[in-house]
C-alpha cells in the first residue's frame, strides 16, 4: 500500500514535470519577446522604434521641401514605424557628413523622417536645414531616411 502511494506520487510528479516544464518554457519564451506569435504584422508597430539606437547626428543638409506626408508608415523586414511626418527634400547642399555613414551616391532627393509628436512647422517650397541621423543599411524601417527625432541629439529642421 505504501509502495503504491509512493509510486502514485512519483508518477504524478513525472506527469506534472512532463506537462508543466514544456508549457512553462514556451510561455516564458513567448512573454520575453515583444513580438508575440499571434500578432499580426500591423501590431508590431513601433516595437523596433523604441530601441534607443538613434543617438548621433550623422548628417546635416539643406534643401527645398517638395512634399510633406503625414503619418507615413515605413517598413523593414520584420518591423515598421509610422513617422508623424515624412518630408521629401530636394537637396541643395550637404553641410556636414559623419565619417563612415553618408556616402554621396548622387542623391538629389532624400526623405526626412520627422519623429517628434507635434506636426512640423514647414511649408512645401520652403528652404530648410535638416540635422539628423542617416541610416545607410537596408531592411530597417529607418533605412535611407534622415531621422529627426527626440532621440537624435541636436536634430532639427529649421527654415533658412
Amino acid at each position: 500500500m505504501r509502495f503504491a502511494s509512493l509510486k502514485r506520487a512519483y508518477i504524478l510528479s513525472v506527469v506534472f514535470a512532463g506537462i508543466l516544464i514544456p508549457v512553462s518554457s514556451v510561455g516564458v519564451r513567448i512573454l520575453q519577446d515583444p513580438i508575440k506569435p499571434w500578432m499580426h504584422r500591423e501590431e508590431w508597430s513601433d516595437i523596433v522604434a523604441q530601441d534607443p539606437y538613434f543617438g548621433n547626428t550623422t548628417l546635416i543638409v539643406r534643401g527645398v521641401i517638395i512634399d510633406v506626408a503625414l503619418n507615413r508608415t515605413m517598413f523593414g523586414y520584420m518591423s515598421y514605424h509610422t513617422f508623424p511626418a515624412l518630408i521629401t527634400l530636394n537637396l541643395t547642399e550637404v553641410i556636414w557628413v559623419d565619417s563612415g555613414v553618408w556616402r554621396a551616391r548622387n542623391k538629389t532627393v532624400i526623405s526626412v523622417g520627422y519623429d517628434f509628436a507635434e506636426t512640423p512647422n514647414v511649408t512645401v517650397g520652403g528652404s530648410y536645414e535638416v540635422r539628423g541621423f542617416w541610416l545607410s543599411i537596408t531592411d530597417s524601417a529607418y533605412s535611407y531616411t534622415l531621422v529627426v527625432a527626440p532621440s537624435v541629439k541636436g536634430s532639427y529642421i529649421k527654415p533658412l
Partner: protein, 569 residues
C-alpha cells in the same frame, strides 16, 4: 497500463518542447545577449575595433566552394584593377560592353514591359493579336509570381523539318475530376520570314485551332481540360518548318491555371495561392532521327559550364552524346546516354551569345527514346560571395553548404546565365556577439580578401548586428563598392525561430531566405521609394517576413519582378 500512459504523456511533453529547444540551440548558447551595444548602432565610437588579426584569426582556408577551380581561373584571368563600383564598369574592362546582357532572358517576359493599350485595359488577362485583332487570352501579370526557370535559355530553336516540333513532358499533379490549364507560347522568327502555322498538341491530340504566326514575335494561348492530372506530353509545332535553319525559336512557354487572378497592383496583398499556380516543364524529348538535336541560344562568359541530365524513356540501348558550342564539339566520344554530367564549355566574352547544341546518336530507333531534364543549366562565372563567419568555443555561425549555400547557387544557375558562388572563407574568432558600425567597417577593411575585385561581395555571418535586424546590406560603406557588404545575424534568426516553428519556419529555410534577399540587394534587386518596397507576395524572398511565406518553403525563390531587376557582374 497506466505507467505506459503516463510515460507517453511525459514523452509527448518532451517531444513538444524539443524542437523549440533545438531551434534555439541551432547555433547559439541560448543566452540572449542583448546588451546596450546590440541595441545601438555604435556610430562614431573610434575606441571600438575588432581584435588584431594575428591574435584572433583562425583561417579556414579550404575555400569550400563546390567548384574551386572556377574561382582560380576567374581570378587569374581577371584584371585586378577592376573598378571599385561594379555598377559602373570602367571602359578599360575588356568585355564591359557585354553588360547589355545583364538581364538574361528578360527580353522574353510575356508582358511586363508592354505598354500596349490592350495591356492597359480593365481586364489585364486580355490582349489582341496584332495581326488578326483576335483576342488572346493569357498575358500574365508577372509582378507577383515566381520567376520562370530559364529553360528556353535565350531561345530554343525549332528543328528544320516539315512538321517542326518541340515536345515537353509536364506533370499536372493528382486531383479529382477535371481541371483547366492554359499554355502560353511565345515564338519568334529569325531566318524564316514567311507566315506559318503554329499548332499545339496534348498527348498527340490537337488543341484549339491553328494560329498563324508572322515574322517577328508571336504570342498564343491554348486551353486544355485535363482529367485526374498525371503526366502528359505537350507539343508545339510549326508548319511548314523545313524552309531554313534557325527559322523560328521558342522564346517562352508557360503552363498554368487560368483560374488564377493577380491581386491589384500596388496593394499589400497576401494572395498566397498565386505562387503555386504554374506547372513546370519537366523534360523535353529528343526527336526520332539519327542525329537528334536540341539547340539553344545561350549566354556564355568566363568559365562557362553546362550541367546536362538525359534520361532514358523508350530506348533501351546506350547512345553517344555530344555537346557543341557554335558548332565546335566540347566533349569526347565517351559520353553515353543516360547521363548526368557537368561539361566545361570554355571561356568566352562575358555575356556573349552562342549556340549550344545537344546531340544524341543514334536516335532513330524509337520515338520518345530520350529526354532532357529541363533543370539543365548553362552558366558562366559571375558573382562571388566571400563568407566569413563568427566562431566561438561552443558554437559557430558557419553556413552549411549543403542545406544553405548550394541551394541558393542552384537557384541562380537555374534561373539565369550567371553563376553565384559562395566561398566559405575565414572563421572570425573570438566571436563579436554584437557588431557595432565601426566593427563592420573594420571587418570589411581587414578581412575581405577580395576587396576591390570585380564581381566579389563580402558576407559576414555573425551573432547579432545592428539593432535587432536579421540581415542587411550596407548601401554605401566607406571607400568600397556600393552594396558590397552583407551581414546576417544568425543568432537573431535562431532566437526568433521558436515562435514560428509550428508555422513551418526552419533555420535553414529562413537563412536561405535572408541570404537570398540580401545577396539580391547587392546586385540591384530591390525597389525603393524611398524605403524598400517589399514584395506583397510573401513567398518571394523579397517580401517582408510572413508565415506562410518564403521561410516556410523548401526551395526559396524570387518573384519575377524583383528577379528581372538584377544586374549581375
Amino acid at each position: 497500463m497506466k505507467k505506459v500512459l503516463l510515460a507517453s504523456v511525459f514523452l509527448l511533453g518532451l517531444l513538444s518542447i524539443t524542437p523549440m529547444a533545438q531551434a534555439n540551440q541551432v547555433i547559439g548558447s541560448g543566452d540572449n545577449e542583448m546588451d546596450n551595444v546590440t541595441k545601438q548602432y555604435g556610430l562614431a565610437q573610434p575606441t571600438e575595433s575588432i581584435p588584431k588579426l594575428s591574435q584572433e584569426l583562425v583561417l579556414d582556408d579550404s575555400l569550400s566552394s563546390d567548384e574551386p577551380f572556377v574561382i582560380e581561373e576567374y581570378t587569374t584571368t581577371s584584371n585586378q584593377t577592376f573598378p571599385v563600383r561594379h555598377e559602373e564598369p570602367d571602359a578599360s574592362f575588356n568585355d564591359a560592353n557585354s553588360f547589355q546582357f545583364d538581364h538574361s532572358g528578360d527580353a522574353f517576359l510575356p508582358d511586363m514591359n508592354s505598354t500596349s493599350p490592350e495591356r492597359q485595359s480593365a481586364d489585364p488577362g486580355f490582349t489582341t493579336d496584332s495581326h488578326t485583332s483576335e483576342p488572346i487570352l493569357g498575358p500574365i501579370d508577372h509582378h507577383y509570381i515566381k520567376a520562370l526557370p530559364y529553360w528556353t535559355k535565350e531561345g530554343h530553336w525549332f528543328p528544320k523539318t516539315d512538321y517542326s516540333q518541340l515536345r515537353y513532358q509536364v506533370n499536372f499533379g493528382t486531383y479529382l475530376g477535371v481541371a483547366n490549364f492554359r499554355a502560353y507560347v511565345k515564338v519568334q522568327s529569325d531566318q524564316d520570314t514567311i507566315p506559318r502555322y503554329l499548332r499545339f498538341y496534348f498527348d498527340g491530340g490537337k488543341v484549339g485551332n491553328d494560329k498563324v504566326i508572322y515574322a517577328g514575335t508571336n504570342e498564343a494561348t491554348f486551353e486544355m481540360s485535363i482529367w485526374w492530372g498525371g503526366t502528359h506530353t505537350l507539343t508545339v509545332e510549326i508548319f511548314y518548318g523545313g524552309y531554313k535553319d534557325y527559322g523560328w525559336k521558342l522564346a517562352l512557354m508557360e503552363v498554368y491555371s487560368p483560374a488564377w487572378h493577380p491581386p491589384p497592383r500596388g496593394e499589400q496583398s497576401y494572395e498566397d495561392y498565386t505562387w503555386h499556380y504554374r506547372r513546370d516543364l519537366e523534360t523535353e524529348f529528343f526527336r526520332k532521327t539519327p542525329y537528334s538535336r536540341l539547340e539553344f541560344d545561350v549566354i556564355l562568359g568566363p568559365s562557362s559550364y553546362a550541367y546536362i541530365k538525359i534520361d532514358r524513356h523508350n530506348d533501351e540501348y546506350t547512345r553517344y552524346f555530344w555537346i557543341y558550342v557554335d558548332g565546335v564539339k566540347k566533349n569526347g566520344d565517351d559520353d553515353l546516354t543516360p547521363l548526368s554530367k557537368l561539361f566545361y564549355l570554355g571561356s568566352y566574352t562575358r555575356g556573349s551569345l552562342h549556340k549550344l547544341r545537344l546531340e544524341i546518336y543514334y536516335a532513330d530507333y524509337k520515338d520518345y527514346g530520350w529526354k532532357l531534364d529541363l533543370k539543365f543549366k548553362v552558366y558562366y562565372s559571375s558573382l562571388f560571395v566571400e563568407v566569413d563567419y563568427m566562431n566561438a568555443t561552443d558554437h559557430n555561425h558557419k553556413p552549411d553548404q549543403v542545406s544553405i549555400s548550394n541551394l541558393i547557387t542552384d537557384y541562380y544557375r537555374l534561373h539565369g546565365a550567371q553563376n553565384l558562388a559562395f566561398i566559405i572563407d575565414d572563421a572570425i574568432t573570438p566571436e563579436i556577439t554584437s557588431l557595432s558600425w565601426n566593427q563592420h567597417e573594420s571587418l570589411y577593411q581587414n578581412r575581405f580578401d577580395h576587396k576591390g575585385q570585380y564581381g566579389w561581395k563580402y558576407m559576414v555571418v555573425g551573432h547579432y548586428g545592428l539593432s535587432d535586424q536579421i540581415g542587411y546590406v550596407f548601401e554605401d560603406p566607406p571607400d568600397v563598392p556600393n552594396d558590397t557588404m552583407i551581414f546576417i545575424a544568425a543568432q537573431r534568426i535562431a532566437d526568433e525561430l521558436p515562435y514560428y516553428w509550428l508555422q513551418g519556419v526552419r533555420y535553414e529555410k529562413w537563412m536561405r531566405t535572408v541570404i537570398m534577399h540580401e545577396v539580391g540587394h547587392t546586385v540591384g534587386i530591390g525597389i525603393w521609394n524611398p524605403n524598400e518596397v517589399y514584395c506583397p507576395q510573401p513567398y518571394s524572398v523579397m517580401a517582408f517576413f510572413a508565415t506562410p511565406g518564403s521561410a516556410t518553403e523548401d526551395y526559396q525563390e524570387y518573384d519575377w519582378e524583383h528577379w528581372s531587376l538584377r544586374s549581375m557582374p
